[in-house]
Amino acid sequence: MYDKEKTLVDAYMSGSLSRRGLIKSLGAMGVTAATAGVLVNAAATRALAQNGFDWKKHAGTTVKLLLNKHPYTDAMIANLENFKELTGMDVQYDVFPEDVYFDKVTAALSSGSSEYDAFMTGAYMTWTYGPAGWVEDLNEWITDASKTNPDYNWDDMLEGVRASCAWNGRPGGQLGSDDAKQWCIPWGYEQNNLTYNAAMLDKAGVGVPGNLDELIDAAAAAQAANDGIYGVGVRGSRSWATIHPGFLSGYANFGQKDLNVSDDGMLSAAMNTDVSKDYHAKWVKMIQDSGAPDWSTHTWYQVGTDLGAGKSAMIFDADILGYFMNGAGNAMEGQLAYAPFAPNPAADAPTPNIWIWSLAMSTFSQQKDAAWYFLQWASGPEHALFGATQMDFVNPVRKSVWADSGFRDRLSGSYPGYVDMHDKSAPGAKIHFTAQPLFFDLTTEWAASLQKMVAGEVPVDEGLDQLAESVNRQLKEAGLG
C-alpha cells in the first residue's frame, strides 16, 4: 500500500501526474486530502534534499524566531518538521498576538538583543528597522549561490510585492530601485478590494459597485434595505493602519500621492490637492452615511468580524479578511463574494495598496547563514504551495502558486470571484506610499484628521490644509522637507 502511494506521489513530483489526478488516485486508495497534502509535501522535501545544495551545512544549529499569531505562522509551524528533517536544524519560536507584537519587535531590536535570529515584519516597519541598522540587506544571501538553493527561484515572487520590500534608504527613494536593499522577504500579502454579501446587495436591488460613487450609493441602499446592518466596513481607528488599506488604495487609484519628492530629495505634503479633497469628501460622506456607527474605533478586526457576523454588507479592505470571514465558524460562511475594485471611474484597473507579512533577519543574530537557511525554506516555492493548498497561507506571493491549478480550483470553489479579483488587481498591487522615516507619524496624523472630518469637527478642505501644514512642519523638523 505504501509503495503504491509513494509511486503515485513520485509520479506527481516528476510531472507525469497532475495534482488533481494525484488527489483523486490517493482518494481512491482511502487517503484523505489532508494526508495526501502531507505526503506531497514530504515528497517535495525529499526532492529539495536532492537538488545538490548542502542543506545539512548547519545541522545541529538552533535558530530562534519572533512570530506574530497568524494563519501564516500556523502554516509554517505545521510544516516545520520537514525543514528540521531537511536541514538537521532545530527551530524555536515565540508567538505573540498582534496587539503587542510590534512593540516586542521594537523592544528586542532597539536593545540590540541577539535572542532572535529572524522575525515577521511588515514592509513599512523596515523603513524604520533598515536605516536604524537592525535588519540585514538580504541581497547578500539571495545572490550568493553557495548559500541559496538552486530551486529558490527569487524571480518567482510577484514583482510589485518583491519591490515593495526593497528600499535604498533615501527618504523618497523609489521602492525596488536598482540600488535598493532587500530588507525583508515577502511571505504572504493582502490586496485591498471589495468583499460583499451578495444576498444583502440583492435585497437592496443593487449590483456590485464598480467605482467609489457606486460604492457610496450601494452601501446606502444595502443599509436601508437590510435591518440592523451598516453599508460598508472600512477601518477608522486613530492609527496608520486606517490609511493603508482601502483608503489609500482608492486614493492611489485617483493618481494621488501622499508626498511630493523634489529634485533635491526634499519631501512635502501632497494630500491637499483638489482631487484629493474631492476624494476625501466622498470617503467621509460614505462613512457618515453608511459606515459603522463606532467607525472611529474600528481596526481590521472589527471590519472583518462585522462582515463575518452579517453586520455589514461590504468591506473595502484586505481581501484575506474577506477570505477568512467566508470560512467555517462565521455566520456568513460561504455567503461572501469578491470583486476587484477601481474607485476611479477613469482608471483602467485597481491599484491596491498592499500589506506584506514578510520575514527579516536581525542584524544582531549570531548565526546569520543558518537563519538564512530557514528564511529561504519558509519563503520557498515548496512551502508556499503547501501552505496555499493545505493551510490558509493566502495570499501567496509566488507566481507559481497562483498558476497552480489545484490552488486556483480550491479558491474558485469556495471563494467566488477571488481568483479573478487577484488576477485583475495584481499588476497594480504595490505599496503606494512614499518610503520615508516618518511614515508612522504622518499616517497616524492623517487618520486623526480623517476622524475629525467624519465627526464634522473640521471641513474636509480646511482639515487637509491643516494636515498638509503639520506634515510639512514635521518633515522640516526632521530635516526631510
Partner: protein
C-alpha cells in the same frame, strides 16, 4: 603524645565608623534608587537630543529644542489640556462618589462590611481589561449600555466613538475602576476618627449637615489629601484605559501625555520627543506632589498644635 587545643583567639568585631554608618544604612535605598535614577537621567539625556531610531545619522544634542518646539506646537498644548481635564474630572468625581459611599458605609455593620468588600471588585480588575469590557458594553450595535441609552431616549449614542462624548466615556470607566480606592481610604479614615466630637455634637443637637461641614470634613482632610494625591498622580499618567478604548482618538480628543509618549516611542520611534514629553509629565507630577505634601504636612502641624 597529647595534643593541646589551640588557644582561642579573641574574636575581632567588624566595627563601622560613626561617619560611615548612615551611608551603610541607606545603602539598600540607594541601590533601589539607582534602578530609578539611571533610567531617569538617561531619559533626561534623550530629551535633550534629536533622536529618532529611524534616522540614526541625525542623532545629536539639540539641548532644549524639543522643549522649545512644544511651546509652538498645538498638539502639545492639546495634550496638556486633555491630560489636565481628564485628571480633574476623574479625581473630582471619584472624590465625591468615594466620600458619599464611605459616609453611607461608615457604620460598622455586617452588611456594610460586606458591601464595602464587594465594591472593591472593580479595583481588582486590570484597567485594560475593564476598558475592553466597557468597550463591549458601549458598542453602538450590541452593547448593553447602548441599549439602555436608547431606552432613555439617547438615540444613536456613540460613546467613545464620538468626539463630544469620548472624554465622558473614558472618565466613566476610570470612575468605575478607581472610585473604590478612594472609598476604602476614606472609609478607613472615617472609622478612625475620634468619637468624642461627634458625641458632643449629638448631645448638643447640632444638625447633621453642620457636623459634616464643621467636624467630619476638617478631620477627614488629611485622608482626602492623601487620596487626592495618589489619584491625581495616577490619573495624570493614565494610559491603559484611554489607549484600549480609543487609541487617543477620535481626532486628538484623548491624546494624553502617556498615549502621546507611547506612540512617539513605539510607533514613531521618536525617542527624543517621547522622552521630553515624559520629562514634562514628571515635572507636573513633581510639582503637584509637592503642593499636596506641603499642604498635608501643614495640616498635620496645625492639628498637632491644636491638640
Amino acid at each position: 603524645m597529647t595534643q593541646t587545643a589551640p588557644a582561642a583567639l579573641p574574636r575581632r568585631r567588624f566595627r563601622v565608623g560613626r561617619r560611615a554608618l548612615p551611608y551603610l544604612l541607606s545603602l539598600p535605598a540607594l541601590l533601589t534608587c539607582i534602578g530609578i535614577l539611571i533610567p531617569f537621567f538617561t531619559a533626561v539625556v534623550y530629551s535633550l537630543q534629536r533622536y529618532r531610531l529611524s534616522q540614526p545619522w541625525a542623532r545629536k544634542f539639540n539641548w532644549g529644542e524639543n522643549y522649545l518646539n512644544f511651546m509652538s506646537d498645538p498638539a502639545f498644548w492639546n495634550t496638556f489640556k486633555v491630560s489636565m481635564s481628564y485628571a480633574i474630572l476623574t479625581v473630582g468625581i471619584e472624590l465625591l462618589l468615594g466620600l458619599g459611599i464611605a459616609l453611607l458605609l461608615q457604620k460598622r455593620t455586617r452588611f456594610n462590611n460586606f458591601v464595602s468588600i464587594m465594591l472593591l471588585m472593580p479595583l481588582m480588575t486590570a484597567p485594560a481589561l475593564a476598558s475592553l469590557m466597557w468597550k463591549l458594553m458601549t458598542n453602538p450595535g450590541f452593547g448593553i449600555l447602548s441599549y439602555f441609552a436608547e431606552l432613555l431616549g439617547f438615540e444613536d449614542f456613540r460613546w467613545a466613538s464620538d468626539p463630544s462624548t469620548a472624554l465622558l466615556t473614558v472618565v466613566i470607566v476610570d470612575v468605575w475602576v478607581y472610585t473604590p480606592f478612594i472609598m476604602i481610604l476614606l472609609l478607613a479614615g472615617l472609622r478612625s476618627l475620634p468619637t468624642q466630637p461627634f458625641e458632643a455634637a449629638s448631645l448638643d443637637g447640632v444638625p447633621r449637615l453642620f457636623v459634616f461641614w464643621r467636624i467630619t470634613l476638617p478631620m477627614l482632610t488629611p485622608f482626602l489629601l492623601t487620596a487626592t494625591l495618589f489619584r491625581v498622580i495616577e490619573s495624570i499618567q493614565q494610559f491603559d484605559i484611554i489607549y484600549a478604548m480609543t487609541q487617543g482618538g477620535p481626532g486628538d480628543k484623548l491624546t494624553v501625555f502617556q498615549v502621546e509618549a507611547y506612540l512617539n516611542f513605539f510607533q514613531f520611534t521618536n525617542v527624543g520627543r517621547s522622552a521630553a514629553l515624559l520629562m514634562i509629565l514628571w515635572a507636573i507630577t513633581y510639582f503637584l506632589s509637592n503642593v499636596f505634601i506641603k499642604n498635608w504636612l501643614r495640616l498635620r502641624e496645625k492639628q498637632r498644635g491644636e491638640a
